[in-house]
């Protein structure tokens, strides 16, 4: 393991469902602190890729490394304990717990309380302070005691992000964080995501080109289960392979208009 190991590295990662190969030898190396948007047409395998990295699915081949350490084949909780957290495209909350409890559940492990039944939650000052802080960061402090299922859609999306970052993981994967949001909600949300992921390695799947250019330093383009380009936004936009395979030459300047794909 070298000092400069990438935060996330994919080496010829493959995944098949039955006889259909969805990820066909994806390669990618994201350096610590980089902010990367993964884009690609529908069915390119973006969400599948996230599911492989986070351990939700096992891969069929290749290697996945987190800070130089193999994580393919590990369980989601083992990967999370190594410092990787993810959000979901469809909000995946603890529905019958309050917003505060949702966040508190997400900090307990990382603060070392694990399976403890010999501590009272109310006495865990460090946990409660951290949970309140996160709740403030995602602007849900006024909705502290509302059950997750009773929050508005935008609030649920914010809580989804809160659960993801609460444990302090250094690598954050966000799967379409702004899915289903209105335009004004989206722009607020992008600045919120920027705030809460300062100093972290960020990978995000995104459809909205405005969000992509607002969040990411680099763009990875996934087409038919392969990363065909990984570069700065400007270089990706002018990359002929990308134009041909993904954007289509007519949409080459889609980013400037922040249109869809």
């Amino acid at each position: 393991m070298t000092a400069a190991a990438p935060a996330i590295e994919l080496r010829d990662v493959r995944k098949s469902f039955g006889r259909t190969e969805i990820i066909r030898g994806a390669n990618l190396a994201v350096q610590p602190g980089e902010r990367v948007a993964v884009i690609g047409p529908n069915g390119a395998g973006k969400s599948t890729l996230f599911n492989l990295i986070s351990g939700r699915f096992g891969s069929s081949g290749g290697e996945i490394l987190l800070h130089g350490q193999r994580i393919d084949g590990l369980k989601p909780y083992e990967i999370n304990r190594l410092g990787l957290a993810r959000s979901f495209q469809v909000s995946n909350l603890f529905t019958r717990l309050s917003a505060f409890e949702n966040i508190r559940c997400s900090v307990l492990w990382s603060m070392g309380y694990k399976y403890s039944f010999w501590h009272f939650l109310a006495d865990l000052d460090d946990v409660n302070r951290r949970a309140e802080d996160v709740l403030g960061m995602i602007r849900l402090d006024r909705r502290r005691d509302v059950l997750a299922m009773n929050l508005t859609y935008a609030e649920q999306r914010a809580l989804e992000i809160g659960i993801t970052i609460a444990g302090g993981a250094s690598v954050i994967l966000l799967d379409e964080p702004t899915a289903g949001m209105s335009k004004s909600e989206t722009s607020n949300f992008v600045s919120l995501i920027r705030e809460v992921t300062v100093g972290k390695t960020l990978l995000t799947v995104e459809h909205d080109m405005g969000v992509v250019f607002g969040l990411a330093d680099k763009i990875a383009v996934l087409v038919y289960g392969e990363v065909i380009a990984f570069d700065e936004p400007e270089a990706v936009r002018t990359n002929p392979r990308v134009q041909e395979a993904y954007l289509g030459s007519a949409h080459a300047d889609a980013g400037a208009q922040s249109g869809g794909h």
């Binding site: 986070s54 717990l97 307990l108 403890s116 010999w118 659960i163």
Partner: protein
């Protein structure tokens, strides 16, 4: 609906009051209800409170539906009665008051053993496996008569070893107070459990077993530890009932017992911590009193259960909490009259229906006694058309009145809930 003790510390004045009241109730109950039947029933209530609360650690708090949880109280009972007989025989030096703990350790042991398999799955597969394990243990109870005592079961004598300050646990009242102490301590421990990191993660795994894996937790471990904790308390309940009845038969591990825990925990209310306590009290009342009152008691129980599942899935506890909420906004007065109408019309319908049920049961089971029977003081003749007509009219009128009352009640209830919601929003805006 679940109230969360926000910034308050583990204890505050309100909580002292509730727990003090709970202790006082258990202390004074046998002084108010002094007959030997009521002492016996109170003892059984204490035992079933522990069992239903332990069952609800899985059902309400962990979303785990166990169809075979009597296995753990039952095996705890057997371990306890064997230990008791060792104490009687002099080969084990243990005060009788600690025998329930032995039962608890037995329950813990078997929960660790069998739960390792059971908790591999959640949801429906979990329920299926518990059903299978329950049948397995019930079948084994006939295969190993040495441990399970075969048809006759295992008997014991709780007056064993040295009396402690003159306490022999011979009189039922002495045993009641032992049970009461165990009930109070176990209730407190199980409540404390809900306030710990593991207890909260158990709630989280109920709501979303997948997501907790992405915040560092192994869902299966959360389930497994909770299952063992539940098994421990089930075992304590089993140990207490071994002392209480001084006999343990194989039916204590059976499906009927498991079903009773499930049914009454649900009736009491699985959503709230205190729900199963209500359920446990009802369990004993139904098993001891209702079964004396009528042969058709299981049918009534089934009807009540069905109604509850359909109309108040949060159980009696949620009905109480909903009305407390209405009361705290000062709106309960408006509902008193409608409630009374609902209650009266329901009673009329129930009287008609149960008169019919009793007549059918009488015809089937007590034919030799002739067609006459007495139901709630009213003489009925199961062969005469006038009794049937009377019951039918009662039922019809009751149902009609109930429906009328319900139609007036529902919009009123909806309006009050809306008023409360908007009141809450106003308060939030002001805060």
């Amino acid at each position: 609906m679940r109230s969360v003790a926000g910034t308050s510390r583990s204890f505050n004045r309100g909580r002292w009051l509730v727990w003090g009241g709970y202790a006082l109730l258990m202390l004074l109950a046998p002084l108010v209800f002094t007959s030997s039947l009521s002492t016996t029933m109170l003892s059984q209530m204490g035992i079933s409170i522990i069992a239903c609360l332990a069952f609800n650690m899985l059902l309400g708090q962990g979303g785990m539906l166990s169809f075979g949880h009597a296995v753990y109280s039952g095996l705890g009972s057997f371990i306890a009665i064997h230990a008791l007989n060792r104490v009687s025989g002099g080969s084990l030096a243990l005060p009788v008051s600690l025998i329930p703990l032995v039962g608890g350790l037995g329950g813990l042991f078997f929960a660790a053993l069998l739960g390792y398999v059971t908790t591999k799955k959640a949801g429906t597969p979990f329920a299926m496996i518990t059903l299978g394990v329950g049948e397995l243990v019930a079948a084994m109870s006939l295969m190993f008569p040495g441990f399970f005592g075969g048809e006759g079961g295992i008997t014991g004598n709780r007056v064993a070893g040295q009396p402690f300050f003159g306490i022999t646990f011979g009189p039922q009242l002495q045993l009641y107070y032992l049970i009461a102490i165990y009930t109070f301590v176990c209730t407190a421990l199980m409540f404390a459990f809900t306030r710990t990191p593991l207890g909260r993660m158990l709630n989280a795994s109920r709501d979303n077993p997948e997501r907790i894996e992405f915040v560092g937790y192994n869902t299966r471990y959360v389930r497994y530890i909770a299952f063992m904790a539940s098994g421990f308390f089930m075992g304590i309940a089993g140990g207490l009932s071994a002392l209480n009845f001084e006999i343990v038969t194989s039916e204590v591990v059976g499906a009927a017992r498991s079903g009773a825990y499930l049914l009454f925990t649900f009736l009491g209310g699985a959503v709230f911590f205190f729900g199963p306590i209500i359920g446990a009290v009802l369990l004993v009342l139904a098993l001891v009193l209702l079964s004396e009152l009528t042969q058709a008691w299981l049918l009534y129980l089934g009807l009540v259960f069905t109604f509850m599942v359909m109309f108040a899935p949060g159980g009696i506890a949620s009905l109480i909490m909903m009305n407390l909420r209405v009361a705290s906004f000062g709106k309960l007065r408006q509902l008193l009259w409608p409630y009374l109408m609902l209650l009266l019309s329901a009673l009329v319908a129930l009287a008609g229906a149960s008169a019919m049920i009793e007549m059918v049961y009488h015809l089937q089971l007590n034919k030799v006694l002739g067609p006459e029977l007495k139901f709630a003081g009213v003489p009925l003749n199961a062969m005469s058309w006038s009794s049937w007509l009377g019951a039918g009219v009662l039922l019809g009128v009751g149902v009609l009145l109930f429906e009328l009352a319900r139609r007036r009640f529902m919009p009123l209830w909806g309006r009050i809930q809306e008023e409360i919601e908007s009141e809450i929003q106003r308060r939030e805006a002001r805060a």
